[in-house]
Symmetry: C2
């Protein structure tokens, strides 16, 4: 259960590689699954992307990402829904375990958090039947509160879960990403409460100091402050037995040779459990 047979490499960790190159990297390092990003799928073309991951024998643990629902302009909100429908179709073709949703920050020009949260809920409600028809599960990801203003007003796992619980379990779940939620005193009870709603488990470490671009402050497992084993144990006890994605946004990691990065990800994986 804790061997590298559950390891997935999220493509963002080696984001200078094309999908074909990232897939080949996984094969070289005996990593059985990959978290795929839409920008790379678009570059390859969907049919070619599907062929690439199938030929490599890789499971697609997640497609990143849908979301960004919060817009003042109704046309922009409709465009976001259309884009998310396309993402659901791609996730279905790729056989992805989940479509990860980064829901969006404050509505531009507004300081109204409840308004932004209502827009998120409304958008997800609209996507639920699409997801159900396609057999794709949407994964609401709580982002760290430092991204609340500009990227995601859903800031805690418990909040993501309360939102998910308003919808059918076959359509909407939650993503547990250690980087975003490790600090939360309610994390372990919220994971237990999430149970079967957990559709993705992503890991990377919280390192200090934060870089100027706080999006890029993530570290290899073991390089930072997060105590992974209690979180992983809670995720397992909740019933999640799927892939564990390593997803690292970090300039230095991106500049490292990809084979070195993949080897480090593999070597550090046991520290997660």
């Amino acid at each position: 259960m804790t061997g590298t047979d559950r390891l997935s490499l999220n493509q963002a960790t080696v984001n200078k590689l094309s999908l074909a190159e990232a897939a080949a990297l996984c094969v070289r390092h005996d990593i059985p699954a990959i978290g795929v990003w839409r920008e790379h799928v678009a570059r390859a073309g969907l049919a070619e992307a599907v062929k690439t991951v199938r030929a490599a024998g890789l499971h697609v643990s997640s497609l990143c990402r849908g979301g960004f629902f919060t817009h003042a302009d109704p046309d922009a909100r409709r465009a976001a829904i259309a884009d998310n429908r396309a993402a659901i179709a791609e996730a279905a073709e790729l056989g992805a375990g989940a479509l990860v949703l980064v829901c969006g920050g404050l509505v531009p020009g507004s300081r109204d958090l409840p308004l932004a949260r209502r827009m998120v809920a409304d958008a997800i409600a609209e996507l639920v039947p699409v997801a159900q028809r396609s057999g794709v599960r949407l994964g609401i990801e709580a982002l760290h509160p430092m991204f609340a203003a500009d990227r995601c007003v859903i800031t805690r796992l418990g909040e993501a879960l309360d939102l998910a619980l308003a919808f059918p379990a076959d359509a909407v779940g939650v993503v547990v990403d250690t980087y975003h939620v490790w600090w939360d005193a309610a994390l372990l009870p919220d994971i237990a409460r999430a149970g079967e709603r957990i559709v993705s488990y992503q890991v990377c470490d919280w390192i200090l100091p934060l870089p100027a671009n706080t999006l890029l402050g993530r570290g290899h497992v073991g390089d930072g402050c997060i105590g992974f084993p209690p979180i992983s144990a809670a995720v397992a006890a909740a019933g999640y037995a799927g892939y564990v994605e390593t997803e690292i946004f970090n300039e230095a990691v991106w500049n490292a040779p990809p084979d070195e990065t993949a080897a480090t990800v593999r070597a550090r994986f046991p520290l997660v459990f």
Copy 2:
């Protein structure tokens, strides 16, 4: 209730000034209260500091700060308690409305959040009788989760409140600082639940992008993303009628002429309500 008769200038906003200079600034700008920092009190000497604020006719809305309880070495923990006893004595002499506690991050060398949280609770328990004898209220401040690793493992108002509720109300309360807690979906209910436990209300704005040193990313009220009126209304409804401190850590604000800063603080104050 919403006039500048409730305004307090936290000294950190003009941190290049001595206590005497900051007090004179408050008088010049008709600001009736000041939040004082211990480093400035130490520089002036306690007796002189007390004389300065009394002569200026200023109320001391808070003393910043005690805390930093989380240490691996028992001697270091004892030293922290001794330092906090001294801070309580200073707060009593200054007639401060509260001693603000920044409780400390992870124990150095450890990734154990619950351990750090237990150390915080144990330290506060030890300080409660000291605070009660001195007539000083300790204010547990929840810091933004981005500081959980290195400064404060208490990351939400609700968590600070649950901790405070374990102790007598005359000894332990909570600090509501908009910068740290604005993002929390449970903020308004937690403020209502806090009621008389609110011992300090501090305001400043969340501005983007975050600077390289994330400690210094705070902005003047109105320059950022926070919707203050619903928070202020909740704080008032909870029963808090004390001073409202503007506390801004920001390199550019520090480099601005202090009279300009004080004038801006005053001019922006109505936006809080």
